[in-house]
């Protein structure tokens, strides 16, 4: 697949850059989980749709990347809201596993919808960003841009969560759901907003991933499982844990992929994950309750 280079330093740098995007993905999933107590199994499929949206906006409609990106982010934000309103909200009172499986149904649905609507061809934006050379280490601008944008997105989310009333309510709801009404908070509304933000984060990730990878209906399967592992290892709903775990996994994948194939990078990550479960089963930064 050729996205890892021969030198260890390059692999390390690339791992760091990959970690930024993985952290962004894990953050969105963790946000949804922490607030609504639901795991969106179809999260990576939302990203896939975002990548298709970028493809259509840029290649088919001829828009500039910078115009298309906010549109794709908004579109996936709306998809997040629809997912919540149509699938999750009717199931909120039922066993949590029902909600998880229903999003599994959505995963199937979105994958097939993409197959039917877009076909199974691999597509890309055809944008080839130049490569930066620093002391003989080659780093692509696409990855630097992705890393920078991912960090910016996470910073924006952090400011939203700490500096606004709605953001404070989103953090509070994860700590005590039941008394939110006493604060005058309509939890249903906060869920919808959270779903929109979670979707928008997936949208942002898709704008960045589409610069580096081809899009096809099954592209979600190549980073979905790794995102779930990151979230579980960081502690579901624990955003800081997920952030750290994302970089650890990215380095494992990147360095593993340097010596063998990329798939082996994933396999090492999984082995590491299982090993970590023996050591720190509640996640990296577990809060002992």
């Amino acid at each position: 697949m050729g996205f890892f280079d021969i030198f260890l330093v390059e692999a390390l740098v690339n791992g760091l850059l990959l970690g930024g995007v993985l952290a962004l993905l894990a953050l969105g999933l963790n946000l949804i989980f922490g607030v609504i107590d639901v795991a969106w199994i179809c999260y990576a499929e939302l990203v896939m749709f975002g990548m298709y949206a970028m493809y259509y906006f840029v290649i088919v409609f001829g828009l500039s990347y910078w115009v298309a990106a906010p549109m794709a982010i908004a579109l996936i934000g709306v998809m997040g809201v629809l997912l919540h309103v149509l699938v999750i909200a009717p199931l909120l009172g039922t066993a949590p596993i029902n909600q998880l499986l229903a999003t599994g149904g959505v995963l199937f649905f979105l994958q097939s919808l993409a197959t039917v609507a877009f076909g199974i061809d691999f597509r890309n934006l055809g944008i080839r960003l130049p490569t930066l050379e620093v002391a003989e280490v080659f780093v692509s601008y696409a990855r630097l841009l992705a890393f920078g944008a991912a960090l910016t997105g996470m910073l924006a989310l952090w400011l939203f969560l700490t500096r606004t009333y709605t953001g404070t309510a989103i953090r509070a709801i994860a700590q005590d759901r039941e008394i939110m009404a006493l604060m005058g908070v309509d939890t249903r509304r906060v869920y919808v907003i959270t779903s929109a933000v979670g979707g928008a984060l997936a949208g942002l990730a898709s704008c960045l991933l589409v610069l580096q990878y081809d899009v096809h209906p099954f592209v979600g399967l190549s980073f979905g499982p790794i995102t779930f592992m990151i979230c579980v290892m960081g502690g579901l709903g624990n955003m800081i844990g997920g952030f750290i775990a994302a970089f650890i996994f990215a380095e494992i994948i990147s360095i593993g992929g340097l010596y063998l194939d990329l798939e082996w990078g994933y396999v090492f990550a999984f082995v590491f994950f299982i090993a970590m479960m023996f050591v720190r089963p509640e996640g990296l930064l577990a809060r002992r309750s």
């Binding site: 309510a169 700590q175 005590d176 939110m180 009404a181 006493l182 604060m183 005058g184 939890t187």
Partner: protein
């Protein structure tokens, strides 16, 4: 100002209140006393809309709260300090207070209300950047009361403010209740600590097994034989 008329309610098939009626007038401090499991917390929850009456009415200035969504009730001026304080333990004191001012009408007054609460509880100002869950029980109770006051309410519902606190802290909490009611706020307080609560309220109701058994002024109840024997231990 606040009136419950023959309210029945419960959880599923379990009925917790049977035809409960009570009234709180403007500027009053009213107590509800009774043993564990009498339905005192349920009484508070039915007022703030966390559960709904299955029969009877909850009237706030004459209008029935039955159709008002729970999250709108605080906007009408009813603030509830829940049982066990229920702070957001992993947020700072100031973020907890910010949640108290969440409703749109309270947000422009945030700085002013914060000043008021910090004036009432200088300790909270010292600890404003501390995580709420790391404070002592008494401090947490201050924070919980402060959070309720942030919405600039017209009535404060307090559910067992002294529960789980050391005796010397209990004294401080009732001192706080006295100061709050002296500031002109109407207070409805539910307590097991009958002796203390009867010192700070004007009137009180005795709630047993989901039914109001007795009501009267604090002095009347303190003098009643039933109360003296069962709750004051004299």
């Amino acid at each position: 100002m606040l009136e419950l008329r023959n309210v029945d309610t419960g959880y599923g098939t379990f009925q917790a209140l049977f035809g409960a009626s009570l009234e709180v007038r403007l500027g009053e401090a009213v107590g509800v006393i009774g043993p564990n499991g009498a339905g005192k917390t349920t009484l508070m929850r039915v007022i703030s809309g966390l559960i709904r009456p299955t029969a009877g009415q909850v009237l706030w200035e004459g209008t029935d709260l039955a159709t008002v969504p729970a999250h709108r009730i605080v906007e009408l001026g009813i603030a509830h300090v829940p049982e066990h304080r229920r702070l957001f333990p992993r947020m700072t004191v100031e973020d907890n207070l910010r949640m108290g001012a969440f409703m749109p009408a309270a947000r422009p007054k945030f700085a002013q209300r914060l000043e008021f609460v910090y004036g009432l509880f200088p300790r909270m100002k010292e600890r404003r950047n501390q995580l709420a869950g790391t404070m002592s029980g008494g401090e947490q109770q201050m924070c919980a009361i402060g959070r309720a006051l942030m919405s600039d309410p017209r009535i404060l519902l307090m559910d067992e403010p002294s529960a789980g606190l050391a005796p010397v802290i209990v004294q401080q909490v009732f001192e706080l209740v006295r100061r709050i009611r002296e500031s002109g706020l109407t207070v409805l307080i539910v307590e097991q600590n009958v002796q203390q609560v009867l010192k700070v309220v004007d009137r009180a109701y005795l709630l047993e097994a989901g039914t109001i058994r007795m009501s009267g002024t604090a002095a009347e109840l303190s003098a009643s034989d039933t109360i003296r024997e069962a709750y004051l231990g004299v």
